[in-house]
C-alpha cells in the first residue's frame, strides 16, 4: 500500500536498485540520466500531439463546428496523421538562404522547448533536477528561443521573415520583463528559486495572494508563446506567417512542436508558480496524486488560453507593446514592492496574505481604470463611437 501511495518515487528507487544489481554505480547514473532525459525530451512532442487535437476541438466548439472527426474516433489520430505528413513532405530550402543558420534555427528552438522540462516539478520527488536557480533557469532557457527566432528570420533571407523575426523579438523582449518581475514576486514570497520549494511554500495557491502577478505572468506567457490575442508573429493578414515562412516539412514541424511545447510548458509553469503545482487534496498523504493534480491544473490553464484565442480579436503591434510596457511592467513593479513592504510588517501570515491580496486588488483596479481612460481618450481622438453605445 505504501508502495502505491508514493508510486513514482518508489518505482524510481526499485528501478535504480534493480539496475544496481548488474551495473556499476556510474553505469546506473548514466542510464538514469538517459532514461529521465529521453522521457522529458519527449514532452513537447507529446504536448503537440495532444494539444493540437484539443485546440481544434475546443476552437471548433467555440465556433460552432465539430473540429476534426475523420481520422480515428473523434479525430484523435488527426495529430499523428499531421506528423506523418510533415515527416514525408518535401523540404524546400530557398536558394537565397544562409543555409547553416537556416537549418540550425528549428533545431535550437525545439531543443530549447525541451530544455525547460528539466526543472518542472511533476510531483513530490518527481522532477528532472531540482536546481537552486530553478525559475531563473526557465527564463534563461527562454533566451535561446529569442536567438533562434532571429536566426530563422535572418537565415531565410526573406523580407517577411525578417520583419516577422524583428516583431517577434520585440514582442518576446517586451513581455519577458513583466514575466521576470512576476516570477520575482513569487520568489520573494516563497523565499527560494527552486521550483520544488516554491510549490512547497504554497500553503494556499499564490493566485489567491498575488492575483496581479498571476495575471501579468499569464498574459506575458501568452505573448511569449505567441498565443492569441498576441499572435502577431503569424498575423497571416499582415506578414504572411512570420519568421518561419520559408520553412516546410519537418523543419516547420519543429517550429510547430516548439510552439505547442512552449504553450504546455508555460501553462505548467503557471500551475507551478500560482496554482500550487502538484499540491491538492491528500497530496501529502498520497504523493502519487501529485502528477495527476499537476497535469489537471496545467491542462486547465491551456484550456483558458484556447478559450481566449477562440473569443478575442488580435491586438495591433503598437497596442501590444504599449500594453506590456505601460500597464504590465508598472503594475508588476508596484506589486513587487508592495509584497516586499507587507513581508516586513510583523503580522501573522494570514493577515499578511490578506494585505497582499488587498493591495493586489487595488493595483488591478487602478490598472483597469487607467486602461479604460486610455481607451476612451483614444476613441475620442479617433472620433470613434464609445463601445457602450453599441455601434453595431
Amino acid at each position: 500500500m505504501d508502495y502505491v501511495l508514493d508510486f513514482f518515487v518508489n518505482l524510481g528507487r526499485s528501478w535504480t536498485t534493480w539496475l544496481g544489481t548488474f551495473l556499476p554505480e556510474w553505469g546506473v547514473t548514466i542510464i538514469n540520466y538517459l532514461v529521465g532525459g529521453i522521457i522529458l525530451v519527449l514532452m513537447p512532442v507529446i504536448a503537440t500531439l495532444t494539444l493540437t487535437w484539443m485546440e481544434r476541438k475546443v476552437i471548433g466548439r467555440i465556433q460552432n463546428r465539430l473540429g476534426p472527426n475523420r481520422v480515428g474516433p473523434w479525430g484523435i489520430f488527426q495529430a499523428i496523421a499531421d506528423a506523418v505528413k510533415m515527416l514525408i513532405k518535401e523540404d524546400i530550402i530557398p536558394d537565397a538562404a544562409d543555409r547553416p543558420v537556416f537549418n540550425l534555427a528549428p533545431i535550437l528552438i525545439a531543443g530549447a522547448a525541451a530544455l525547460v522540462w528539466a526543472v518542472m516539478p511533476f510531483g513530490k520527488g518527481v522532477i528532472g533536477v531540482d536546481l537552486n536557480v530553478g525559475v531563473l533557469y526557465l527564463v534563461a532557457v527562454g533566451s535561446i528561443t529569442t536567438v533562434s527566432v532571429i536566426m530563422a528570420g535572418w537565415g531565410s533571407n526573406n523580407k517577411f521573415a525578417l520583419i516577422g523575426a524583428f516583431r517577434g523579438v520585440a514582442q518576446l523582449l517586451s513581455y519577458e520583463v513583466p514575466m521576470i518581475l512576476s516570477i520575482a514576486t513569487v520568489v520573494l514570497l516563497a523565499g527560494s528559486m527552486s521550483t520544488m520549494r516554491i510549490v512547497e511554500a504554497q500553503q494556499i495557491p499564490f493566485i489567491f495572494v498575488l492575483p496581479v502577478a498571476f495575471i501579468a505572468y499569464f498574459l506575458a506567457s501568452a505573448a511569449e508563446v505567441g498565443r492569441a490575442p498576441f499572435d502577431l508573429l503569424e498575423a497571416d493578414s499582415e506578414i504572411v506567417a512570420g519568421y518561419f515562412i520559408e520553412y516546410s516539412g519537418l523543419k516547420f514541424g519543429w517550429f510547430y512542436i516548439a510552439e505547442y511545447g512552449n504553450l504546455f510548458a508555460v501553462s505548467a509553469i503557471t500551475a507551478t508558480l500560482f496554482l500550487g503545482g502538484w499540491r491538492g487534496p491528500f497530496s501529502h498523504q498520497a504523493p502519487v496524486l501529485g502528477p495527476l493534480y499537476f497535469i489537471i491544473k496545467t491542462v486547465l490553464v491551456v484550456f483558458v488560453m484556447m478559450w481566449i484565442r477562440g473569443t478575442w480579436p488580435r491586438f495591433r503591434i503598437d497596442q501590444m507593446l504599449g500594453f506590456a510596457w505601460k500597464v504590465l511592467v508598472p503594475a508588476s513593479l508596484a506589486n513587487l514592492l508592495w509584497v516586499a513592504i507587507v513581508l516586513k510588517i510583523a503580522l501573522p501570515t494570514i493577515v499578511q496574505w490578506a494585505l497582499m491580496l488587498g493591495g493586489n486588488l487595488l493595483i488591478l483596479v487602478i490598472a483597469a481604470g487607467m486602461l479604460g481612460r486610455a481607451a476612451k481618450r483614444h476613441a475620442e481622438q479617433r472620433n470613434l463611437a464609445p463601445l457602450s453605445s453599441g455601434a453595431a
Binding site: V101, L136, Y137, A140, W154
Partner: protein, 163 residues
C-alpha cells in the same frame, strides 16, 4: 571527469571566441559570440557559481547579443562580403596579442597563488542578495543609476530625429 569537461568547454569557448573575431559575416560572428557566452556559462558551472552561469545566459545571450544583432541589422550595408574584415595594422595587432598571451601565460604559471580550499557555501545566492544590500549597497545603487543613465543616453543617441 571534471578535467575532461573543463577541456571540452574551454575548447568550445576559445574556438568560438576565435571565430567571433575572424568570421567575415558579422551576423555569424554574433552567433559564435552566443556560443562563446554559453561556454563561459559552462565554466561558471564548473566553478560552482551557478547563479552567475544563469545570469550570464540571461544577460549576455538573452539581452546583449540581441542588442548586437539588432545593431548589425540596423547598420546594414556592412554586410557586403567583399569588404575586408581587418584593418591595415592587423598583422601588428596579431603579433602584439600573441606576445601578450605568451607573457601572461609565463606569469600565470609562475605565480604561487595563495590557494585556500573550501566548500562552496550552500546559501551562496542568499549571501549574494545579502551582500547587495549590505556591504555593497553603494555599488548596488550606483548600478541602478548607471543602467538608467545608459538607457537615457542610448535612447537620446539612437532615436530618429523627427523632422
Amino acid at each position: 571527469m571534471q578535467q575532461v569537461m573543463f577541456i571540452v568547454i574551454s575548447a568550445v569557448t576559445l574556438i568560438s571566441g576565435a571565430l567571433v573575431v575572424t568570421t567575415r559575416s558579422l551576423f555569424r560572428s554574433a552567433l559564435w559570440l552566443v556560443l562563446a557566452f554559453f561556454g563561459i556559462a559552462g565554466l561558471f558551472v564548473l566553478l560552482n557559481a551557478e547563479f552567475l552561469a544563469v545570469a550570464q545566459i540571461l544577460i549576455y545571450v538573452g539581452a546583449i547579443s540581441i542588442l548586437i544583432i539588432f545593431a548589425i541589422m540596423l547598420s546594414r550595408g556592412v554586410m557586403d562580403p567583399e569588404t575586408r574584415r581587418f584593418n591595415d595594422q592587423w598583422g601588428v595587432v596579431a603579433g602584439f596579442t600573441a606576445v601578450l598571451l605568451v607573457l601572461l601565460v609565463a606569469i600565470l604559471t609562475r605565480v604561487q597563488w595563495p590557494l585556500a580550499a573550501g566548500a562552496v557555501p550552500a546559501d551562496a545566492i542568499q549571501r549574494l542578495g545579502a551582500d547587495f544590500v549590505g556591504p555593497y549597497v553603494i555599488p548596488f545603487e550606483v548600478a541602478s543609476v548607471l543602467l538608467v543613465a545608459a538607457m537615457i543616453g542610448a535612447i537620446i543617441i539612437a532615436r530618429e530625429r523627427e523632422n
